[in-house]
C-alpha cells in the first residue's frame, strides 16, 4: 500500500515551510531595485564580518594548519619539524589499531542507528499513541532523563554498573541464575567497546525519542483517523502513515547519529581509555593517544584529517538527502 497523501493545499512547498508548520503563510515581497539590493548585500556583509573572522581564526585556520601538520614529523620538546610528505598517512594505513578504531566507530554507528533511530522511532510512536496527554508527557520526560546526564558522569556511572564483582549487571545475572554470563565487561577485548556503546545508547536514546515524538505530533491527526476508518490496525498505521511521514526526520537522525558515532571520545576515555590492549580505541581516542601519549603529533594530525574527511562526507550526504527528501502531504 502506498503512503496516504494529504490534500494538495496542505503541502508545504519548501523545507523552511515545513519547519514553520502547515498553518504558516509566507509573506511575498514586492520587486526590489538592483542597486538597492547590492547596497543591502554590502551592508549585510559588514555585519557578517566579525563572525566570519572568528570562524576563520578559530575554526578554518586551525583546520588548514592541521592538514599541513599532517605532513610533518616534529619533536614537541625541541620544536624541531621535518617535512615527511605522506609518511604519516602511509603509517596510518599500515597501523592495525587505526583500522581497529575505525571499525569500532563503524560498530558505534551501526548499533546507534538501530537503537537511536529505528528503536527510538518505534518507542516514540508507542508513546504518542498513549491516550492521555499527562502520561505521554511523563513518558517523554522519563525517557529523556538519561540524556540530561553528562556523558562523563554516565561513563563513570556505568563503570560501576560493569564492575566484575559488585557491578549491578553481574549481580543481576547472578540473581537470575545466569552467573556464567558475568564477566568484566570493560576488562575484556571482546566486550569493552560494546559495553561502552550500550551505555551510549542508554544515554542518547531518550533524546532521539523526544525528537521523533515532535515529528510524529506534526502529522495531521485526520490521516490517522482516515486510516482507522479504513480499518487499519495500529502496527500497519505505524508503517503506512507514521513511517513515511517522518522519513525526513529519520534521514536527518541517521546522518546526525552516524556523524556523532565518528566523533565519539568522552565515554571511551572515561570508561576504558581505549583499552584493554587498544581493543576499544575509536578514532578520537587514537588521535589523542598519538598526540599526547606517544608524542607523535604528525600522526595525530593525520588521524584528525581522516576524521574530518569522514564527517565531511557524511555532512555532504546529509545535505544531499535533505534536499531530495521533502515532506509531502
Amino acid at each position: 500500500m502506498t503512503a496516504l497523501q494529504a490534500p494538495t493545499e496542505l503541502r508545504p512547498t519548501s523545507l523552511e515551510e515545513v519547519g514553520r508548520g502547515p498553518a504558516h503563510v509566507s509573506r511575498r515581497r514586492g520587486p526590489v531595485k538592483p542597486g538597492a539590493r547590492a547596497s543591502a548585500s554590502a551592508s549585510g556583509l559588514i555585519w557578517l564580518l566579525p563572525a566570519l573572522a572568528v570562524l576563520a581564526v578559530f575554526v578554518y585556520w586551525p583546520l588548514i594548519q592541521n592538514i599541513l601538520f599532517s605532513f610533518l614529523k616534529w619533536n614537541i620538546y625541541s620544536g624541531e619539524q621535518t617535512f615527511v610528505g605522506g609518511d604519516n598517512y602511509v603509517a596510518l594505513a599500515e597501523d592495525p589499531i587505526f583500522w581497529k578504531a575505525l571499525g569500532n566507530n563503524v560498530w558505534y554507528a551501526v548499533i546507534s542507528v538501530v537503537f537511536q533511530v529505528f528503536g527510538a522511532l518505534v518507542l516514540a510512536a508507542i508513546v504518542e499513541s498513549v491516550r492521555r496527554e499527562r502520561w505521554r508527557k511523563a513518558l517523554r520526560a522519563i525517557y529523556f532523563i538519561p540524556s540530561a546526564i553528562s556523558l562523563t558522569v554516565a561513563g563513570l556511572l556505568f563503570y560501576f554498573v560493569y564492575q566484575p564483582q559488585t557491578g549491578l549487571l553481574n549481580v543481576f545475572f547472578d540473581n537470575l541464575g545466569l552467573g556464567q554470563l558475568s564477566q568484566a565487561w570493560l576488562g575484556h577485548e571482546s566486550t569493552a567497546i560494546f559495553a561502552i556503546i550500550a551505555m551510549s545508547q542508554w544515554q542518547g536514546f531518550g533524546y532521539s525519542v523526544l525528537l521523533f515524538s515532535v515529528a510524529l505530533q506534526r502529522i495531521p491527526q485526520e490521516l490517522y483517523e482516515a486510516a482507522q476508518i479504513d480499518g487499519i490496525g495500529p502496527v500497519r498505521r505505524f508503517f503506512d502513515v507514521s513511517l513515511p511521514l517522518v522519513r525526513e526526520m529519520t534521514g536527518l537522525m541517521m546522518i546526525v547519529t552516524i556523524s556523532g558515532a565518528f566523533q565519539v571520545f568522552n565515554e571511551v576515555m572515561v570508561m576504558t581509555s581505549g583499552g584493554p590492549n587498544n581493543s576499544s580505541q575509536v578514532l578520537g581516542t587514537w588521535l589523542y593517544h598519538a598526540g599526547f601519549v606517544t608524542n607523535d603529533f604528525g600522526s595525530a594530525a593525520a588521524i584528525g584529517v581522516a576524521i574530518f574527511v569522514i564527517t565531511l562526507l557524511l555532512a555532504a550526504a546529509q545535505l544531499a538527502y535533505s534536499r531530495k527528501k521533502r515532506v509531502e502531504w
Binding site: V59, F69, I76, G79, L186, H188, G284, T294, G304
Partner: protein
C-alpha cells in the same frame, strides 16, 4: 551535522599544533646564579593534587610566602600520571612551562633536559656540592642526563608487596623468599577463602609494574639497557617471555579477579587491602600511608612489606628493586630561576623533608637521613631502608622506555591479564614497537 562539533577534535589538535610551531629548539637562557628577586613572581606545577599531597604543597607555599611577602606565587597542582603528563605537554606547546615543574626520572625527564627545557643544576646539586650532598647519589643520578644534573629529587619511590600480617599469621605463612613460594602461599590463602593479591589493571600500569620487576629479575641488565634504546633494541632474550609467563601465572593463581582484572581500578584493589579483604597488594612506597591509614582494618591487622620475590635461577638481577625518585626541574626560560632555585632548596630543607615523610603524607623524602621510624610510619621507614640497601634499581618500564615502546608495554600488560596475548605474541608486539621507534 553541527560544524562546531565536527571540527572540535581537529581544531584542538590544530591549536596545539599552532602553539607547537612557536616552540624553538635550543637551550634556555635562565641565569641561575643571579641574585634572587623576591619582589617578582614564581609559578609552580606539582603532581600533588588531591589527598594527601595537595595540602602539603599549599602549606609549603604559605610558609615560603611568609618569608617573602612581596613574591607573587602561583601554585598549580595536577594528579600524578596522565593528568600531569598531558598538562606538561600542553604547557610545552604553548611555551608556558612554569618556573618550577614536576618530572619523572628516565625518558620523561630526559626529554626536558636534552631539549633545553630544564636548567642545568650541576653546579648547585651534583654530588660533592653542599646541597647535592644532602641527597643520596642514586637519587641525584636518576636525573643525570648527558653527564649533567637537571632534577631535584623530591621523594624516593619503589614497588613492594604489602601484606596483611593477621592473614599470614592465621594461615601460618612466612614472607615468601622465592616466586614459587609466593605462588604456593597464594594457593593456601585462596583455599582459606581469602583473596591472595588485590589487583586492578584498568589503567594498564599496575600490571606493567609487575612486568618491570619480573623483567629485571629474568633478563640480564646489560641486555635490558641495550633494549631500552630503540637503535640497539632486539628483545630476543628468553627472559622477557619468562617474565611474562610468571606474570600470567601470578594473575591467574594469585589475584581475586584473575583475567577480569582489567575491569578493576587500582584504587579498588587498594581498598580491598585497606579493608582487610585481601592478603597482599603490590604497591608503591608512596602509597603505604594512604592504604595503611590509622583507622583502617589493615592497620589493626598489621601491615608488612616485602620485595616481590624472584624465581630461583632467574637470569637477571634478583637484587634489583623497581622504582625511581620523582622530582622537580627549573624552566630553562624562567625569568625567576634564582627564586625557583631558592624555593626548591626551601622545599627540600630538613624541616619540610621531615613533614613530607611523616603521616599523613608518607612520601619518603630523597633527603638523606630524614626517613626514620621517629618521623615516618614503620612501613615507610622500612621501605626507605630497603631502597637504600637495594643492590641496584630499575626504573618503571613506562618511564625507562621511549613513549612508543612504553605504550606497547602498557597494552601487552592488559593483553596478558585478559589472556588474549601469549607471552610470545606480547613480546612480538613490544619488539614491533621498538622497531617502529628506530
Amino acid at each position: 551535522m553541527n560544524p562546531t562539533r565536527a571540527t572540535t577534535v581537529i581544531a584542538a589538535t590544530g591549536i596545539l599544533a599552532l602553539a607547537l610551531t612557536a616552540c624553538s629548539a635550543g637551550g634556555g637562557s635562565a641565569d641561575i646564579t643571579a641574585k634572587p628577586d623576591f619582589s617578582g613572581s614564581l609559578s609552580i606545577l606539582t603532581a600533588g593534587a588531591g589527598d594527601p599531597m595537595a595540602p602539603y604543597f599549599e602549606g609549603i607555599v604559605k610558609d615560603y610566602q611568609a618569608e617573602h611577602p612581596d613574591l607573587k606565587i602561583t601554585l598549580a597542582q595536577e594528579t600524578d600520571d596522565n593528568a600531569i603528563k598531558d598538562k606538561e605537554k600542553v604547557l610545552i606547546g604553548s611555551q608556558s612551562l612554569p618556573d618550577v615543574y614536576f618530572t619523572y626520572a628516565g625518558n620523561w625527564g630526559e626529554n626536558f633536559a636534552v631539549n633545553g627545557l630544564a636548567v642545568d643544576l650541576s653546579k648547585q646539586i651534583a654530588p660533592g656540592t653542599e646541597w647535592g650532598d644532602s641527597f643520596g647519589t642514586a637519587a641525584l643520578d636518576a636525573f643525570r642526563y648527558e653527564g649533567k644534573y637537571y632534577g631535584v629529587p623530591f621523594y624516593n619511590d619503589a614497588k613492594f608487596m604489602g601484606y596483611n600480617k593477621r592473614i599470614f599469621s592465621e594461615l601460618g605463612l612466612e614472607v615468601p623468599s622465592t616466586f614459587d613460594e609466593l605462588i604456593s602461599d597464594c594457593s593456601t590463602i585462596k583455599s582459606a577463602g581469602e583473596v591472595p593479591i588485590a589487583f586492578g589493571n584498568k589503567d594498564g600500569w599496575p600490571g606493567l609494574h609487575y612486568l618491570g620487576q619480573l623483567v629485571a629479575y629474568n633478563v640480564p641488565r646489560d641486555t635490558i639497557d641495550a633494549d631500552l634504546a630503540p637503535t640497539t633494541a632486539k628483545y630476543d632474550d628468553p627472559g622477557y617471555a619468562k617474565a611474562m609467563e610468571q606474570f600470567q601465572q601470578l594473575v591467574t593463581e594469585c589475584t581475586g579477579d584473575g583475567s577480569n582484572s582489567n575491569g578493576v581500578t587500582y584504587t579498588t584493589a587498594q581498598q580491598q587491602q585497606a579493608t582487610g579483604k585481601a592478603a597482599m597488594y603490590y604497591q608503591e612506597l608512596i602509597e603505604f600511608d594512604s592504604v595503611n591509614t590509622s583507622d583502617s582494618q589493615l592497620n589493626q591487622d598489621g601491615f608488612g612489606i616485602f620485595q616481590l620475590p624472584a624465581a630461583e635461577g632467574a637470569q637477571g638481577d634478583p637484587g634489583t628493586l623497581q622504582g625511581a625518585p620523582e622530582g622537580y626541574m627549573i624552566n630553562a626560560k624562567s625569568k625567576n630561576a634564582p627564586v625557583a632555585l631558592d624555593f626548591l632548596k626551601f622545599l627540600t630543607n630538613q624541616k619540610n623533608a621531615t613533614i613530607l615523610s611523616s603521616p599523613p603524607y608518607g612520601q619518603p623524602s630523597a633527603v638523606k637521613g630524614v626517613v626514620t621510624e621517629k618521623v615516618a610510619s614503620p612501613a615507610v621507614a622500612e621501605g626507605a631502608k630497603l631502597v637504600d640497601e637495594a643492590e641496584s634499581s630499575f626504573a618503571w618500564l613506562d618511564m625507562a622506555n621511549v613513549p612508543e615502546v612504553a605504550d606497547s608495554w602498557v597494552a601487552v600488560s592488559e593483553g596478558l591479564v585478559s589472556g588474549s596475548l601469549t607471552p610470545k605474541a606480547a613480546l612480538a608486539a613490544v619488539r614491533a614497537a621498538a622497531e617502529k621507534a628506530k
